[in-house]
């Protein structure tokens, strides 16, 4: 049985990568980095993990290097955040389309303009189309567990895709909290050695990543679509096996006190823990409200989501990023995609909160819930709103 210990979540994630016995870590060791790779470099330097730690000159190089490691058949891990993820952008597509298994943890942080290092989801939400599997953690334990499950999923013969574990910057990454760290032996039972289907090998040369002429490019993209879509079943299966081994249950879409709730708040990541405490408070006051959170974001768990919100009349969506001049927050848009044309679809109150490190607290949940209640009462659905703007909200009214 794993010991319950207090540790910073970033440190815990590094320990998790270590108990997964990763072979290669490539990372750029400066802001916006976290303690994840800093601590991994210590673990490797201390001789506690037999791995190559490759400090590179940029995140672009870090992701390129990770592609090389995975192509050579190494269990590969890296971490980044914010601008670092943005700088990896073009290589992310390549990692996915070469079907290179690896796990990258992203301490979700805002993108600059103005310069910001704080928590929101603008880094990951601008990388939705890269073809990676993407999952979200709500606390340190989940981040640790998802790193362990992530390697197993990523390397599964039915998946063979890079996987991104998202955990909120600062409100998770810099938080000291209790963690049960599985031992190397326990993880070894759950996570078999990586057996690449194809690898770069000088004795048996192959080409990876050649030109995709117009005659094959569309088919390659079709293959990418099915690769991510088909990851769903084995991912659910692996979550089940993880539960058997470690006793902690994970689902593609998580719910909290959704029974009889006419109004549901929808979100992902660390703010949902604060939201659960808020739900407990208002439920005690006799108000029927619940939470639905995305654990799995790519592949998008459409059926699980529909099941989770069945019966609700209004959904209050809390996005942590938006597209200026566009259709609002990404999660709300994807929810609309899932529900469009459906009979008795719930109304959707779209909000954007917690940008660039602004705390999301009970007052914000109250405010969003009030908007939902107005819509439930028959008021027209407002356009998406940036909550928490000093002096008023979106709409200039």
């Amino acid at each position: 049985m794993a010991e319950r210990k207090g540790m910073e979540v970033s440190i815990a994630i590094a320990e998790a990568a270590s108990v997964c016995d990763v072979d290669c870590i490539a990372a750029y060791p400066i802001t916006p980095q976290t303690h994840v790779v800093e601590h991994l470099s210590e673990i490797v330097a201390d001789g506690d993990l037999d791995a190559e730690f490759i400090p590179v000159e940029s995140e672009h190089a870090a992701m390129s290097c990770c592609c090389g490691c995975a192509a050579a058949g190494a269990r590969t891990f890296t971490a980044t955040a914010s601008q670092g993820l943005a700088l990896m952008h073009e290589i992310l597509f390549i990692a996915a389309n070469l079907r290179l298994p690896m796990v990258m943890v992203v301490a979700n942080r805002s993108l600059s303009g103005p310069i910001s290092i704080w928590n929101d989801h603008s880094d990951v939400m601008t990388e939705r189309d890269v073809g990676w599997v993407q999952v979200f953690a709500e606390n340190g334990q989940e981040a640790v567990d998802l790193v362990i499950m992530g390697h197993r999923m990523s390397e599964d013969k039915r998946i063979l895709l890079p996987l991104m574990v998202n955990f909120d910057g600062f409100i998770l990454s810099h938080m000291v909290e209790p963690i049960e760290m599985p031992t190397r032996e326990e993880v070894k039972k759950f996570l078999p050695d990586f057996e690449p289907q194809q690898r770069l090998d000088i004795d048996n040369p192959i080409t990876m990543g050649p030109v995709g002429m117009p005659v094959v490019y569309t088919e390659a993209k079709m293959a990418a679509e099915w690769a991510v879509r088909d990851a769903y079943e084995p991912m659910v299966e692996i979550m089940g096996e993880f539960e058997k081994e470690f006793g902690r249950k994970y689902k593609p879409v998580e719910t909290y006190r959704t029974d009889d709730a006419e109004i549901l708040l929808i979100m992902m990541g660390g703010i949902s823990e604060t939201a659960m405490t808020w739900v407990d408070k208002v439920r005690d006051e006799g108000v029927k409200v619940g939470l639905v959170r995305f654990r799995m974001w790519r592949p998008l768990p459409v059926d699980d989501f529909k099941k989770a919100i069945a019966g609700a009349k209004v959904l209050g969506v809390l996005d942590r990023h938006f597209s200026p001049g566009g259709p609002g927050g990404p999660m709300a848009q994807e929810i609309k995609y899932m529900l469009y044309g459906q009979d008795h679809a719930p109304k959707i109150v779209e909000t954007v909160v917690g940008l660039g490190g602004r705390d999301v607290n009970f007052t914000d949940f109250d405010q969003i819930f009030d908007r939902c209640k107005t819509v439930l009462g028959g008021a027209p659905v407002p356009p998406f709103e940036l909550i928490q703007v000093r002096g008023g909200h979106y709409g200039k009214a």
Binding site: G6, L172, H174, E177, I271, T274, D359
Partner: protein
Amino acid sequence: MLELRFHGRGGQGAVTSAELIALAAIAQGKFAQAFPSFGPERRGAPVMAFARIDDKKIRNRTAVSNPDAVVVLDPHILHIANSSDGLSKDGIQVVNTMRSADEIREEYNLKGRLITVDANHIAEQEIGRVITNTTMLGALIRATGVIERELLVDELKVRFGRLAEGNINAFNRAFEECCVEKG
């Protein structure tokens, strides 16, 4: 749930204080969290750190805005930081000062019950440097009784290794020497 807020300057170890008390609480079988006020830390600039301790799982990731106890690591920070902000009814403030509780309460309009300790003096004598975080923990533990004293000493041993002795002495002296106002 006990909510704590630490006021200090970058380099004084406010974040370490919050972490040590959370680690000791977890070692005692409780639930706890500790985190800094997130920002680009600069040596000497005012900083805050937060901690929460409870017997059940803590599901709150917001900054502590209504602390039950505040720790002021730097006597001069009271000029620029409002340590009384949001202090809960029955809240306490543990202040590093060589002055009396009445004097500083009047000058800075401090709320709550005050626990004072001359941590600069103790830290200088025991550690040889005016870094007051471990010293202030002695007074905090005395005032709140939230953690077993020995468990915090254990955390000091782990964190400071060969430098632990001075920090433990400073911690213990503050525990004994702090002035606790009657409730």
